[in-house]
């Protein structure tokens, strides 16, 4: 789960990390009032779940409250990488001497949380890694001991030759590690970590991604979810316990299992079509899930054909068949449907479908070809 910059800043601030003040506005008038409260030059920052906000015109300086209002008005009308901007964060502009990068990710290779720090901050860390890999220090954390002080100091000195600043950075890293662990994060990032002309070390930006699997035991973190910043169909799917990701094509896919769902999308593409979505109904065989899945898929006007691909293992194909019958009785389909199912209780499923006027196939390639032909209007 992604959270906004202002939410991550609250978490970091509570962990003790020095972060300049900031307030969130949803209207231009609020933005003006906040800018007036802070006085002087402020930064207006779009709060969306997308990187590259600056390049997209979502981060701007405002010299006075009137300018803050005008700028906020513009930013609040932006759509950045498909996400509508609903909120802006207003913070006083800081004087910056240097910019560094501090991040923690869960690293698959070392199977641990790993710190990545670099004195070259303020830009995309992937770019730093590609151009100047020697400017990045990586340090895995043993979960039994946490971030030991001497290791934090190693990283502090990698960023700053000055002892006082190295110590300040080391302290921030330990606080960041605490915030990372207690929030159940899979990523926590400060970019940039700045020094001011006066020598203070401060976090000017904050990013955190929370592991979805942590949310059940961390209701306070789960409450940070901002559904207005997600596609409505994805919110609907999550509430129905489905994994759904909207794509640009016109063949709506309903599949059981993530790997098979991806392979089905790939096969749609292989046969000249474009998948409209990724949708995994999961391992259990609950007809309700099929009903929800069909509702979500058919609400997308770009879908021209629906493809079911079910390999019954734990999933009983007769349950899926019943779900299809129920769903289409409630909401008759306006686009053609191609059903492929095989495996557990296949004979019963085929009988249920036939009795209700559906035909079904057992071969995956044939089913995909047919769905693509129907979606592109090339069907015989």
């Amino acid at each position: 789960m992604n959270i906004h910059e202002y939410q991550a800043k609250d978490i970091f601030r509570n962990a003790g990390i020095p972060i300049p003040a900031g307030d969130v506005a949803t209207t231009a008038a609020d933005a003006e009032a906040i800018a007036r409260k802070f006085g002087g030059t402020v930064v207006v920052k779009a709060q969306v779940h997308a990187g590259g906000r600056g390049k997209a015109g979502g981060v701007k300086l405002a010299k006075n409250p009137t300018e803050a209002r005008e700028i906020a008005e513009g930013i609040l009308e932006l759509t950045i990488k498909g996400f509508r901007v609903e909120k802006v964060l207003i913070t006083p502009a800081a004087d910056i001497a240097t910019e560094a990068y501090v991040g923690i990710i869960v690293d698959r290779a070392s199977k641990r949380a790993v710190f990545m720090v670099s004195p070259a901050g303020g830009i995309d860390i992937e770019e730093v890694a590609a151009a100047t890999p020697d400017k990045i220090m990586r340090l895995p954390v043993d979960p039994r001991y946490g971030l030991l002080s001497y290791k934090a100091m190693q990283m502090g000195f990698f960023l700053y030759p000055d002892l006082k600043q190295a110590r300040a950075a080391a302290k921030i890293m330990q606080q960041l590690y605490q915030a990372f662990i207690t929030s159940g994060a899979s990523l926590a990032e400060i970019n940039p970590l700045v020094t001011t002309p006066g020598g203070d070390v401060q976090a000017l930006d904050a990013k955190m991604v929370v592991d979805d699997n942590e949310l059940d035991r961390r209701p306070d973190v789960a409450a940070l979810r901002d559904e207005s910043s997600e596609a409505p169909s994805e919110v609907d799917a999550r509430n129905a316990n489905l994994t759904f990701i909207k794509l640009d094509g016109n063949v709506g896919c309903v599949v059981n299992g993530a790997g098979l769902a991806m392979a089905t999308m790939d096969l749609v593409k292989y046969y000249g079509g474009e998948p409209a979505n990724f949708l995994d109904i999961g391992g259990s065989s609950n007809p309700e899930k099929v009903v929800s899945a069909l509702r979500i898929i058919t609400s997308d006007p770009s879908v021209k054909a629906i493809l079911f691909n079910i390999f019954g293992g734990i999933t009983r194909t007769d349950d899926v068949a019943n779900g299809i019958v129920t769903a289409t009785r409630q909401n008759p389909l306006t686009v053609p449907i191609v059903i492929r199912l095989t495996g557990t209780n296949e004979e019963i499923a085929l009988k249920i479908l036939q009795e209700n006027g559906f035909s079904a196939m057992t071969d995956m390639d044939e089913a995909v070809k047919k769905a693509v032909a129907l979606a592109t209007g090339k069907a015989a």
Partner: protein
């Protein structure tokens, strides 16, 4: 032969009285797996299906039954503890089916299990099956048949699809292993490839990967450097957008890393025949 499990496997089921645990315990017993005990705290002394003894703790179960493997079907928030309990009780092979285990839990479990010398398969995996001998997990037994092909995969139902197509083409399997779709899992592709290379009955290997991470790329280098047996590969997620978690927690393209194209290229460069479609695996195995 086969890898990791065979007819000497004596299996415990952790969470044997739960909805999933009880269903699959029955399926495993029907398949012929030697299920010697179950663990559900508070139900010690009872019997599952009137035959399999249930224990309160794993260490008790091991002492009484001599179990040498365990399979875990407990809810995600308790799975980390269950894996560590099994390792502490001295079980050398631990399979965790549970999906949704927090990844930070896995950073602790991974070193804990390794320090005790146990092998962990999963979590978030379908388990494994050595057709005709033993099945541990949830892979449907009826789609498998004994034979000379080893199969290792990050996926569940996609594995079933491929096994099914192989079985229909009379290509039986020594062992089919699902290593799971999480970012941190106990057993990697390389662990399985190494075991298949050492297994005299395995003549060829199918490796099914997906987007996210670089396990497949490392496995491809291993194939080139260390394996004499032919390997056929398939990668799911060629049409997956970057930055989105495609169902499996580990199936995500980060920035520009972990794409299907990158993995397929690594396969080709290291002598692994790449199937463009799942069905092509069968044809490539015939040529191997």
């Amino acid at each position: 032969m086969s890898i990791f499990i065979d007819n000497r496997t004596r299996l415990l089921v952790q969470g044997i009285t739960g909805r999933d645990g009880s269903f699959h315990a029955k399926q495993m017993i029907e398949y012929g797996t030697s299920v010697v005990g179950g663990v559900t705290p508070g139900k010690g002394g009872q019997k599952f299906e009137g035959a399999v003894p249930i224990f309160n703790t794993v260490s008790e179960a091991v002492a009484e039954t001599g179990a040498n493997a365990t399979v875990i079907y407990v809810p995600p928030m308790f799975a980390a503890d269950a894996m560590m309990e099994a390792a502490d009780a001295g079980i050398p092979f631990i399979v965790c089916i549970t999906e949704g285990v927090p990844v930070l839990d896995m950073t602790r479990v991974y070193s804990f299990v390794r320090d005790r010398g146990a092998r962990l398969l999963g979590p978030n995996c379908p388990g494994l099956i050595s057709p005709g001998k033993s099945k541990v997990g949830i892979i449907p037994g009826q789609i498998c048949t004994p034979g000379p092909i080893g199969l290792v995969s990050r996926s569940g139902t996609l594995t079933y699809e491929l096994v099914f197509q192989m079985t229909r083409a009379n290509m039986g399997q020594t062992t089919c292993v699902g290593i799971g779709g999480d970012p941190i899992n106990g057993t990697t592709f390389i662990d399985c490839l190494e075991a298949f290379e050492a297994d005299p009955d395995t003549k060829a290997v199918v490796m099914i990967g997906e987007i996210g991470g670089n396990d497949e790329q490392e496995a491809a280098r291993f194939v080139k450097e260390k394996m004499t047996k032919p390997v056929v590969g398939f990668i799911a997620g060629q049409t997956a957008p970057p930055g989105r978690r495609m169902g499996h927690a580990g199936a995500i393209i980060s920035g520009s890393a972990g794409t299907a194209a990158e993995k397929m290229q690594a396969f080709e460069e290291n002598g692994i025949a790449v199937a463009k479609r799942p069905i092509d695996v069968v044809q490539l195995l015939r040529q191997a």
